[in-house]
Symmetry: C2
Subunit: 375 residues, 2 copies
């Protein structure tokens, strides 16, 4: 399922391909987040043709509440429901249950929570989250875990990690005793937890690796901890997780985070940052970070990003985009979202190319200042 095409000599970066039911994904890859079955403010066609997205992410918690499993099952899964024919991944719903629901109670059995929409009561268990993700039908589905906040006391982090491990075994059991509903095989990815405690991360990574699933994920990072901790935990875990399987770092991050973690051996990323920041007028461009509402762009009639794969960024000016944001026009977020997603996808595509050519380490150092600096 995963073929490594090249491994960097100076770092742990690798370039590969993941074969999935809905197509092949070239790694390292960034997965745009399509929470409710739509990447916010982006047409599907533009997502493939302008951005070059190869796989998108859906959120189980949101889709379970709206439109609900009945509608998605009737539609034949999320792929036909939203008319997306490429690979898809769904998270387990855990992260949103902890961060969004109005109340939640975690027990051994699972999590009881109130919907953030209407206050209705629901229960997620490892078993029903597998069933829900069977119904959604993504190519890659995630184990039900507890994502600890940061900071987190060691005792809580340890107990939570063990709960995540016990839940994983229940997920695997349910997953193996069921099959895909729509004629193709899904893969289940377990998640390493352990907060920022090296010995817990080590223990969790060894446990996850022992389950021998085809893709392994790292959760519980990018939740507020210093970047150094994120990198240290990622490095520690990557060194334990099997080299021959894709490693997915959940919810990460800035362009610099992504470059650093590629060099540590991560193959897959997702994050709301490019789209959320786009809607707030923060652009990632080939010249650096642009705050588009800034007065300085008022009469700057240069293209938003002449190097972008998005034609809207090549054909529209910074001054026009600023005007759209100041005027509160929806086209502003639409153009900015295409810009930021194109930037992220170009970044991982460039990283991949440099890994294949053996020039990744030097290129990364070269490009790092640009991706984090403000224009």
């Amino acid at each position: 399922m995963f073929t490594i095409q090249e491994t960097d000599h100076k770092t742990s970066a690798r370039a590969g391909k993941i074969r999935l039911p809905h197509g092949e994904v070239e790694t390292p890859i960034f997965m745009p987040v399509g929470t409710m079955g739509t990447v916010k403010a982006v047409h599907h066609r533009d997502l493939t043709e302008q951005v070059g997205a190869q796989i998108i992410l859906g959120n189980t918690y949101h889709l379970y509440l709206r439109p609900g499993m009945e509608v998605i099952q009737d539609a034949g899964g999320l792929h036909p429901f939203i008319n997306w024919s490429k690979p898809m991944l769904t998270d387990s719903g855990g992260y949103q249950v902890y961060s969004l629901s109005q109340q939640r109670k975690i027990k051994e059995e699972g999590v009881k929570f109130r919907s953030h929409i209407d206050g209705s009561i629901h229960v997620f268990t490892p078993e029903n989250v597998m069933d829900i993700q069977r119904t959604i039908g993504a190519d890659i589905i995630m184990a039900f875990d507890e994502c600890t906040p940061w900071p987190c006391e060691e005792g809580y982090a340890r107990r939570s990690m063990h709960l995540t491990h016990r839940w994983l075994d229940r997920c695997i059991e349910r997953f193996k005793s069921t099959e895909g509903l729509y004629g193709y095989e899904q893969v289940l990815a377990p998640i390493v937890q352990g907060s920022t405690y090296p010995h817990l991360r080590k223990q969790s990574a060894e446990f996850i690796a022992s389950r021998e699933m085809p893709i392994n994920a790292i959760g519980g990072l990018s939740v507020g901890e210093p970047h150094e901790d994120m990198y240290a935990m990622t490095k520690l875990v990557c060194d334990i997780l099997p080299k021959e399987k894709p490693r997915y770092l959940m919810g990460v991050g800035t362009p610099a985070n992504i470059l650093e973690c590629i060099s540590l051996g991560i193959d897959m990323f997702d994050c709301v940052m490019p789209t959320r920041n786009a809607r707030h007028g923060l652009l990632y461009t080939s010249r650096g970070i642009v705050h588009i509402r800034n007065e300085k762009w008022k009469t700057c009639f240069e293209p938003i990003d002449p190097a972008s794969t998005a034609e809207t960024s090549r054909h529209h000016t910074l001054a026009y985009l600023r005007h759209l944001f100041i005027a509160g026009e929806p086209l502003g977020a639409m153009i900015a979202s295409l810009q930021n997603l194109s930037f992220y996808l170009s970044l991982v595509r460039d990283a991949r190319q440099h890994i294949l050519e053996g020039t990744f380490a030097a290129w990364k150092e070269d490009i790092l200042p640009m991706v984090s600096s403000k224009v």
Copy 2:
């Protein structure tokens, strides 16, 4: 500038072509409204490729306030500022001054008003509105008029009409003593007023016709009066305005309004209805009007409109679009806007085709029930 290709035998409908600096427009035509230099929630490329728009409208009042004339002049006009290469029309700002500004005082000289954005004080006169529209640089610019509300006392309607006529002569004088700023010639269209008083409308139409401008417009309709009054006034005015020049009915209207007024001899329309209704979840489709939030579409996995020129309407389902609206996702308004604009543009294109083929009257009667009925 205007070539009539065919006139219907049973009605006063005509099919023609208007040659403008930025291209040719086939009539009858509907002009999507791009208030702030953007048709809300629609990418420019989709406006031409998916919708088939040939000319769009900008609003002088809004553009004057934001981004302001300095920015637009620096950009070389609205066309390059928004990267739109086809024809454009701007209104005179009058309508918005009366309806949006926080306070306004109408005098012989012009209108003093407070911005609805920051309360700042501005003055529009026939002269500076010509100058502003020179700066914006649309192919077709409109005379500065007073648009009377409905109902409107006869005395006020008469005095207002005469003011509009005196303003028109000032507009013409300023227009003729200036020229286009960007190397092409603009055309100025005067506006017939007179509320719903036949003798005033007759007087106004004769006055407007006497000024011998290349395009004539009818304002002050679709402001709340019964449809019968709108049709009666439009018919009366069309019979007076010269046949050999395009007639533009401002701010109209529903699909049925458009069909009726085409049959009365109108060549050009604009209205916020398709885009505004789209954002509220009301769709015009080839099967009739769809309220997309309705529960009945929850599991309707048929295309939004299989006959639409917009591929999003052919590839996405009613159930998915309903989900997007219920979830408050921007993609909902994006897809619905493309659907409604495509419907409007297809409607006038079909009307044109039937006029050319001599089958307009029968086709119109045939299609009228569909365009007004709810599915």
